[in-house]
C-alpha cells in the first residue's frame, strides 16, 4: 500500500482539525453576518426613499412623493368620552338577536 505524500497528509490533518472544531462555528458566523446584512438592506429599502425625501424637504425642496393629506392632532382625536357614541349597526335602539 502506497504511503500518502507528506503534503496531502498535512492537508488532511488541517482539514480534520477544521471539520471537527471550526466548520460549524464559521458557518454560524457567516449566517449571522448574512442575516444582519439582509436586515440592514431591508431597512434601507424600506426607509431609504423616505429619508431621502425628508432630507430633500429639509433642504427646501418639494416632497417627491405627494402623499395623502395627514390629519392634524385635533382632527384625528376621536376619544372624547362626552361626545356622541360611535355609530353602531342600526342606530334605532333595537336589540339585535
Amino acid at each position: 500500500m502506497s504511503q500518502m505524500n507528506s503534503f496531502l497528509a498535512l492537508q488532511e490533518q488541517e482539514l480534520t482539525a477544521f471539520t471537527e472544531a471550526r466548520q460549524v462555528r464559521v458557518r454560524q458566523r457567516v449566517e449571522r453576518e448574512l442575516k444582519s446584512a439582509e436586515f440592514i438592506g431591508s431597512l434601507i429599502e424600506l426607509f431609504g426613499p423616505v429619508m431621502a425625501d425628508t432630507v430633500n424637504v429639509l433642504g427646501g425642496g418639494d416632497p417627491l412623493v405627494q402623499d395623502e393629506t395627514y390629519l392634524l392632532l385635533q382632527e384625528s382625536e376621536d376619544d372624547d368620552p362626552y361626545g356622541s357614541p360611535p355609530p353602531g349597526p342600526g342606530d334605532s335602539g333595537q336589540i339585535i338577536r
Binding site: 504511503q3 505524500n5 503534503f7 496531502l8 482539514l15 477544521f18 464559521v26 448574512l34
Partner: protein, 184 residues
C-alpha cells in the same frame, strides 16, 4: 445537483439548505487555501468567514461564465493576499527578482519532498520564509497550477518555476541539516 442550480435556487428563495450545501462543498477547500497563505489557523478561520460572507453577498454577480469553484478560489486568494499585504507579511512577495543564474540551482525531484514524514515537512516549512512556504504549499498541497500562482503573485511563469526550484533546494538543505543523521 450542479453548483449553478443551487446558486439559482439560493438567489430565488434564499433557502438555508442551498447555503448549507454550497458551504459544505467548499468550506474545507477554502479553509485549506486560507491556512496555506495565512499560516495561523485562527486567521484562516476568520478569512474563511469573510470569504463566505463575500461569496453569498455577491452571488448575484456570479454569471456562470467560469466555474463556481474558480470564482470561489479567486475570491479566496485575493482576500488572503489583501490580508497579507495589509499586515506586510511578505514585503518580498512582489520584488523577488532572480539574482543568480538559473543553472546554479540544483534540481530537487518532487519525491524528495513528497516522501518526507509529516513532522519533517512541518519542520522544514517552519524554517522557510512566509513567501517560500506559501508557494510550496500552493503548488504541492493545494495543487495550484504554475500559471495561476504567477497570476496571483504578479510574476512570470518562468520566475515562479525558478523560485520553486530554489525553494525546493532550500527545503532539501534544511531537511538534510536537521534529519540527515537521524533515521526517519
Amino acid at each position: 445537483m450542479e453548483d449553478i442550480d443551487i446558486i439559482r435556487a439560493y438567489r430565488e428563495r434564499r433557502h438555508a439548505t442551498c447555503f448549507q450545501i454550497l458551504y459544505d462543498r467548499y468550506s474545507t477547500k477554502v479553509y485549506s487555501k486560507a491556512v496555506t497563505m495565512l499560516r495561523k489557523q485562527s486567521e484562516a478561520e476568520d478569512a474563511t468567514q469573510e470569504i463566505f460572507t463575500k461569496i453569498f453577498l455577491n452571488l448575484g454577480k456570479f454569471q456562470g461564465q467560469s466555474k463556481f469553484s474558480t470564482w470561489v478560489y479567486s475570491i479566496t486568494y485575493n482576500l488572503c493576499i489583501d490580508k497579507i499585504r495589509r499586515e506586510k507579511k511578505v514585503r518580498d512577495l512582489f520584488n523577488t527578482e532572480m539574482e543568480d543564474p538559473p543553472d546554479t540551482v540544483e534540481e530537487v525531484p518532487d519525491e524528495a519532498l513528497l516522501n518526507l514524514q509529516l513532522n519533517e515537512l512541518k519542520y522544514v516549512l517552519s524554517k522557510l520564509t512566509d513567501t517560500e512556504r506559501m508557494m510550496l504549499l500552493m503548488k504541492y498541497k493545494d495543487g495550484v497550477k504554475i500559471k495561476a500562482i504567477a497570476s496571483l503573485l504578479d510574476k512570470s511563469e518562468s520566475a515562479v518555476k525558478m523560485q520553486l526550484k530554489r525553494i525546493k533546494e532550500k527545503a532539501k538543505r534544511i531537511h538534510e541539516h536537521r534529519f540527515a543523521s537521524t533515521p526517519s
